[in-house]
Symmetry: C2
Subunit: 166 residues, 2 copies
Amino acid sequence: METLHNETTISLAQLLAHWQGHRGLTRRVIDAFPEDQLFSHTIGGMRTFKELTMELNSMGATGAHGIATGEWKELNKLPGAAELDVNPKTKEGILRLWDWSTDYINNVWPQVHPTRLQETDKAYGQWEGPVWWLLYYFIDNEVHHRGQGYVYLRSLGIEPPPFWDR
Amino acid sequence: METLHNETTISLAQLLAHWQGHRGLTRRVIDAFPEDQLFSHTIGGMRTFKELTMELNSMGATGAHGIATGEWKELNKLPGAAELDVNPKTKEGILRLWDWSTDYINNVWPQVHPTRLQETDKAYGQWEGPVWWLLYYFIDNEVHHRGQGYVYLRSLGIEPPPFWDR
């Protein structure tokens, strides 16, 4: 664990607010899709935005849980998730998963130890790195795919919500 | 300025490496565009990737300079930039600006004070917020627009460099 002498860059509470700000914007992008196009529209052989969103749904609450506890589980194995429909067939079902994850992240975050982000862990038993790097991967991956959702929406003639509004 | 009691989330050196990792990937995405499509290809009335890249070029070195010094300047007003072509008409010219900025960021970053990210500043005299928030905006905006570049490349039948490779 690296020692950071007298550096105060960003707090855990600020990181949570930053992540949740992005998540709120991503929710509005999901919601901006017409139901059918969310499940069918694609460009250049890429995944639909439903599929991209489900990738994000697989790494939100589970990622926060892993950061907070060191346990890396699938979504339906998290406490309270047994009743969740993790294979939603509607926009409403996707958004329900999203909102459940948002609450889960808020609730588990206070368990993150003050120096946890400087530890090394292996996310989902596969990706090894500093915990801050894992957290930033979850956030950056969301921004990356959401940016792709912006192009999908524009190509459908729909104006996406503004990027800066979180 | 918020006091962060005993929290070590991410160091300034790690933030620099994180940003530069993203910048290296974005450079490969720019380079993956055929010269003509970089300046002409668009989807749904959006800007070309050249225009998106030039937005990023306007906020890289200048953003790091602002974070390090509190001075917010246009690119061609930075020390050593007077000879730069800040309106490039070729991919080579865009990449030259990119590489110049990458070096500039590396060189100015050690001037960032250990508690600077918890200060509030007004970037370019316009956007006021915590300095960490300004830094994250620069990075996130790059990830956002680069994700759009991925769709442009896919729509041209070109495989983009992998997202995780930084």
